[in-house]
């Protein structure tokens, strides 16, 4: 009493349910990038909103002091500050919020009282190149050294190189400022090899002269080294752990069995796969590195956005504080987007999942 279904299809040629799912290949993972950008826009909105609410939690007398100190302002500037800091008691919270968003859209971040009533935007624009240069270079150097180092340590497991891991991890648990201070104490004060602080010598005019650039390099070495040393440990540890996992995979054994030279196996097979999670964690740690760099700028009196933010905080220049915070957050988000794009391009699986 067997029943059968009509044999209209060639079963062997048809294959299984799994293979029948249609698949197209996209070169650029638009959906992935789109989702990330949407997320970052949301984060930016959250940061803006936090920025909006914090001064409104201020105590009343601080507000009055602030106004009292700023008598020489133009009426427009005063209005802008009022909107920024929530001093308009005759407008509803929602109206203030809309005003604030409008200001941001115009690029108006208020007036900086500690910089002679210069617009906040200008003050930040002066400080930004120093920070971007310092952090950008430091992060790249640290990432490269840490990742390459981690790959090598993972490859040569059990060797004396293993000692590098606890050393660099130890260094990354030491606060940035401590490393910076020790660097000053040892290399600048005791050994006198480097200047103590600032980006260039007092009295030197900035410009594209060799003397200026030389001073920039000289003054920038210790801050750069501090950031690199402090953040190295994380990259190295992560990469080495991933290498150990990847090296156990069968495809590495196959590559070696095929007779592929060890160098190729290490770099083109193992490291290439182990580096993917590193790029993801890179995106996440940008925020942390920026935080550390702010501290380093303070320690070395380096004229970047970080030091500007801290000086503004101590001087209670609220408009500059908020402007600086926003710019820093924006920079971190942009860096994150770039890292996400890099990851999407490098990991074939994200491209596949677009299909």
């Amino acid at each position: 009493m067997t029943t059968i279904s009509s044999p209209e299809t060639d079963v062997v040629a048809d294959g299984t349910t799994a293979t029948r799912a249609t698949r197209t290949r996209a070169r650029v993972p638009w959906r992935f990038i789109g989702r990330r950008v949407a997320f970052y826009l949301f984060t930016l909105w959250a940061a803006i909103t936090i920025n909006f609410f914090v001064p409104r939690l201020m105590k009343g007398d601080a507000v009055d002091n602030y106004l009292a100190r700023n008598r020489g302002m133009s009426p427009e500037a005063a209005d802008a500050l009022r909107a920024l800091l929530g001093l308009d008691s005759d407008r509803t919270l929602w109206q203030q919020y809309v005003d604030y968003l409008g200001m941001l859209a115009r690029g108006d971040l208020g007036i900086a009282i500690t910089h002679g009533l210069q617009p906040v935007g200008e003050v930040i624009a002066n400080a930004l190149p120093w920070t971007v240069g310092l952090i950008g270079l430091a992060t790249v150097v640290s990432f490269v050294i840490g990742t390459v180092g981690g790959a090598v340590v993972g490859w040569r497991r059990g060797s004396r190189l293993d000692a590098l891991i606890p050393v660099t991890t130890f260094l990354s648990t030491v606060p940035y400022f401590w490393i910076g201070l020790m660097a000053i104490s040892v290399f600048a004060v005791t050994l006198g090899w480097f200047p103590i602080g600032k980006a260039y010598g007092i009295g030197t005019t900035p410009g594209l002269s060799l003397e200026f650039l030389g001073e920039v390099v000289e003054h920038g070495t210790l801050p750069l080294a501090t950031i690199v040393v402090a953040s190295l440990g994380g990259w190295m540890l992560g990469m080495r752990n991933m290498m150990l996992t990847v090296l156990d995979e069968d495809y590495v054994t196959v590559a070696q069995a095929k007779g592929m030279p060890n160098r190729r196996v290490l770099w083109r097979y193992a490291a290439r796969n182990a580096v993917l999670p590193q790029i993801q964690s890179f995106a996440l740690s940008i925020g942390f590195i920026v935080g550390g760099a702010i501290i380093v700028e303070q320690v070395f009196s380096y004229p970047g956005v970080g030091k500007m933010l801290l000086d503004a905080t101590n001087a209670k220049d609220y408009a500059l504080m908020q402007g600086g915070f926003l710019v820093i957050v924006l920079a971190v988000l942009v860096a994150n987007i770039l890292a996400d794009v890099a990851y999407a391009v490098l990991d074939p699986r994200t491209r596949q999942s677009e299909a």
Binding site: T2, T3, I4, S5, P7, T16, T17, R20, A355
Partner: protein, 265 residues
């Protein structure tokens, strides 16, 4: 006498970016207590989807499932009662037991939750169940990683039997065991089925054991039932071309030698 009636069940999964996959199309069969049905098919044929729908880990896109004539309950106390009537043995003995908990925990929980025995007798019942699956009593305080695959699968069977179900779905229960252990576990299942009068849906890709243990065999291909009949008929006298392909694909030592080596058997 309990029976579960699958009527015209289809299940379609949406895959992001790749449209949809028809895992099951218009599958119908009836499983009654005292009967074993073998469900065979290659990977991706939809066998596991049938298991998921019977245990209600998934809902059918269309069609219905009836238990003794009534649609199976989908929530609340009625669903819990249903899940005591129809139990499942999972495929992977390594993954189906919680590595943190003792064997006692695994067998005890369904007992406690179903209330088939009063609390005072739970401990005795745990021992009785373990004895039934031929495991030593000392195993109760062990953790899964200390047991072999075969022992773990026996624990999984004991867990399945705890609430005294009428129906059992065994999803490839021996596929991940050493070949030498398979017959032991399958014989155990067969004995229990006979003693308790269970209705068993035995899902497998192995035709030989399917034939050995089942009264009826259902052949699935690409989510459709292509053949359904008494076990010996389907295996020995397959009518559908797919069933024939399946049988050809199973390695049979005798015919291998006859075809390739030639000479006397």
């Amino acid at each position: 006498m309990t029976s579960i009636d699958v009527q015209g069940v289809s299940k379609t999964y949406r895959v992001r970016g790749a449209g949809s996959i028809d895992a099951l199309s218009d599958v119908s069969f009836t499983l009654s207590s005292g009967q074993t049905i073998g469900m065979v098919g290659q990977s991706g044929s939809g066998k596991s989807t049938v298991a998921k729908i019977l245990t209600q880990m998934e809902r059918p896109t269309s069609g219905q499932v009836l238990l003794d004539g009534e649609p199976i309950p989908t929530r609340g106390a009625a669903l819990r009662a249903y899940r005591q009537q129809l139990r499942m043995v999972f495929q992977d003995p390594f993954a189906s037991l919680n590595p943190y908990h003792s064997i006692r925990h695994h067998v005890e929980r369904p007992l406690v939750l179903s209330g088939v025995v009063p609390p005072a007798q739970v401990d005795a019942e745990v021992h009785r169940l373990l004895d039934r699956v031929q495991l030593d009593a000392g195993v109760v305080d062990r953790r899964p990683h200390e047991l072999s695959g075969g022992q773990r699968q026996r624990v999984a069977i004991a867990r399945a039997l705890a609430p005294r179900p009428a129906l059992l779905v065994a999803d490839e229960p021996v596929s991940m065991l050493d070949v030498s252990l398979r017959m032991g576990v399958l014989s155990l299942l067969s004995d229990i089925q006979a003693e308790d009068g269970l209705g068993v849906l035995y899902i497998t890709h192995d035709l030989a054991t399917a034939r050995y243990f089942s009264d009826e065999i259902i052949v699935l291909n690409q989510g459709r039932v292509v053949e359904h009949g008494p076990a010996d008929d389907v295996i020995l006298r397959p009518q559908h071309p797919y069933t024939r392909e399946l049988r050809e694909a199973s390695p049979d030592p005798e015919s291998f030698f006859a075809d390739h080596v030639g000479g006397a058997r």
